[in-house]
């Protein structure tokens, strides 16, 4: 093969790879795509509502509810991928959600009001992390967030949550969230709203700017766009999602010891994000559901023999996926979906 032919092949591969991450250009959908999308959406809605019953033989709804929370946390990691950053503070921000929930419940605030307050209260913490993001990049930012998470866990969470979740007053569920199934439906509804918001942001001019910032921060700034503004926005959005996940985790678990937010676990969540396809909304949710729910179902199906093997399971699945499809679940999903819609390669 000549050098020119090799170069052309490389170029073709590069274009194909880039097309994978490109957002589709707006245009009229083909009838097959319309049918596929309508059918897919209907299937998703039916699946969401029937999943607790369908999987009841494999385990309790609790497993699904945990999966949705992990999906939110992984989405929070994935959102930071929009600006090419890696955060190890996701679990610390989830912990903040639990603490805020407990604090507000002790002061008699209704759960419906706590959720938006927790989201707003996440902003100051996110701004602290945002300052790191303005000064540091890549692995340095990751280390800074890990340090932040360690400090939060060792100082704040240890004293506030204790090692056995020893709140002065335990977290209580409101009457309309008495069962795990109700919590699950609330989580799914919230996750759907968050996913749509993320999707719309990615499709908007803000999304274009975030992609540009990730590709070349220097060119972005020289052109006259502010990297600081978009970085802070993304870190705050990611933090809000993680805090929301933490609030729901608190309401689901009711007792949350501080070791649930061990900083080292953030590495696992980051790995879930990579397996989902960093930056992807759908991939992050899928990865969260797989890694959050499946180990719990396996525990039930194995009659408790697989308790404590969740990270083993996660590592095995992650290894298979990233070896098979380096773009993660998102790339795999896109590939399958294109085939269903009949999009030519």
């Amino acid at each position: 093969m000549s050098v020119a032919t090799e170069l052309r092949a490389d170029l073709k591969a590069a274009v194909a790879a880039s097309t994978d991450v490109m957002l589709p250009l707006p245009g009229r959908l083909r009838p097959r795509a319309v049918i596929a999308r309508t059918f897919g959406f209907a299937l998703l809605v039916v699946g969401i509502f029937t999943m607790p019953s369908l999987l009841s033989r494999a385990g309790p709804t609790y497993a699904l509810a945990v999966g949705v929370i992990v999906a939110m946390a992984v989405l929070s990691v994935s959102v930071l991928g929009w600006i090419g950053e890696i955060s190890m503070a996701t679990l610390a921000q989830m912990g903040m959600g639990v603490v805020i929930l407990n604090y507000l419940q002790r002061h008699g605030v209704a759960f419906a009001a706590i959720v938006p307050i927790a989201v707003l209260a996440s902003i100051p913490v996110s701004l602290v992390l945002g300052v790191f993001a303005l000064r540091l990049r890549g692995v340095y930012f990751a280390i800074a967030t890990l340090a932040f998470a360690t400090l939060a866990q060792k100082s704040f969470f240890s004293s506030y949550l204790g090692t056995e979740g020893g709140f002065e007053k335990p977290l209580v569920r409101p009457s309309y969230l008495a069962s795990d199934k109700h919590v699950y439906y609330l989580e799914v509804g919230t996750l759907a709203v968050v996913a749509v918001i993320c999707y719309l942001i990615l499709r908007s001019p803000i999304g274009t700017r975030l992609t540009a910032l990730r590709d070349s921060e220097m060119a972005f700034a020289v052109l006259g766009h502010s990297p600081a503004r978009y970085k802070l926005f993304t870190v705050c959005l990611s933090g809000a999602i993680a805090t929301l996940a933490g609030t729901y985790y608190g309401i689901l678990q009711q007792v949350v010891p501080s070791n649930y937010f061990a900083p080292g676990l953030a590495i696992a969540y980051f790995a879930y994000g990579v397996v989902g396809g960093l930056g992807s909304v759908g991939g992050a949710i899928a990865a969260g559901l797989v890694f959050g729910s499946t180990p719990r179902y396996l525990e039930t199906l194995s009659h408790g023999k697989l308790v404590g093997y969740d990270l083993f399971f996660a590592a095995a699945v992650a290894l298979i996926i990233i070896l098979w499809v380096p773009g993660g679940i998102a790339a795999l999903g896109r590939r399958i979906w294109r085939r269903i819609e009949g999009v030519p390669r």
Partner: protein, 300 residues
């Protein structure tokens, strides 16, 4: 003589050859310049701007990196309607100079004025004030399409309330039309929906240049824009730079291709080891004793 010295002399000699523009290449640009001149003279083309306002005035600019004095007391003026060349051997401080002006490096000393006002503040604020630049290695937003790359430039022009010095009619067009017109102006013939990562190297340069133009700059700083371009694209670039300058844009050009530099620049500043060796018209610079000595060495 040691091999290092021999190699150094050989490299110097090669540079000297670069300094003398190839007559064949120079001849190539002659019809382009004549065509543009004719258009301007006939009045059928855009009106030649007579504005020669000082857009950028740099005085005493110095910066040191550890033990290396990268720029030492550099003075330079770029005027509207002129192409100002910055030349010099590798390591002379040309790109460092661009980085200081665009705010990427804070200078140790010196004053930079832009449109009569001190140029201070962040890289972003300088971009919004009308300081456009390209890079030695093109830095496009590779995950975005060509159109999105250009539209991001147009968005800055809109939000900063800037007008296009080189074509006032552009302001009336919507973002996509404006981006397309500028892409065609710089000679891009491809599909604007193409992902930037799929462009050939020459097109990367051309689109980076177009993106800077989309932001409606007052001063355009180009870092080796002709490198990697084919002969036809380089010809078009020279004609375009001349045309943009004639329409009132200030252009600051770093370039190693001497045919391009001599063919398009009104004023040239020669840098060597971070200091200004000479400033003048192409003819003056070519005959300057200091420049010849620096490029040839005493023994030559």
């Amino acid at each position: 003589m040691s091999p290092e010295v021999t190699n150094y002399r050989t490299a110097r000699a090669a540079h000297t050859a670069e300094l003398r523009p190839d007559p064949e290449k120079m001849a190539r640009f002659a019809p382009l310049r004549a065509r543009l001149g004719a258009l301007l003279a006939e009045g059928t083309g855009p009106t030649r701007s007579t504005d020669r306002t000082e857009i950028l005035a740099v005085s005493g600019l110095s910066i040191r990196f550890g033990g290396l004095q990268a720029l030492d007391n550099v003075d330079l003026v770029a005027r509207a309607g002129e192409v100002t060349g910055v030349i010099g051997p590798n390591g002379a401080g040309k790109t460092t100079f661009f980085n200081c002006v665009s705010g990427l490096y804070p200078p140790d000393r010196g004053q930079i004025n832009f449109e009569g006002q001190p140029l201070k503040g962040s890289v972003v604020s300088r971009g919004r004030r009308g300081l456009g630049r390209t890079f030695q290695s093109p830095r496009l937003f590779s995950s975005l399409s060509v159109l999105d790359n250009l539209a991001l430039g147009c968005a800055v022009a809109e939000s900063a309330g800037r007008t296009y010095t080189f074509d006032s009619t552009l302001a009336r067009l919507d973002r996509a039309e404006r981006a397309e017109r500028i892409a065609r102006l710089v000679g891009f013939r491809g599909d604007l929906a193409t992902p930037a990562s799929g462009l050939a190297f020459g097109d990367l340069r051309v689109i980076e240049f177009a993106r800077a133009l989309c932001a409606a700059p007052r001063l355009l700083m180009l870092d080796e824009p002709a490198s990697g371009l084919d002969v036809e694209q380089a010809d078009d670039l020279v004609a375009l730079l001349r045309r943009l300058a004639d329409l009132g844009l200030a252009v600051l050009l770093i370039e190693h291709d001497m045919a391009v530099v001599m063919g398009v620049c009104d004023v040239i500043t020669v840098l060597n080891f971070g200091t200004v060796l000479a400033t003048g018209t192409p003819e003056q610079v070519q005959s300057d004793e200091n420049v010849i000595e620096a490029y040839l060495g005493r023994s030559a």
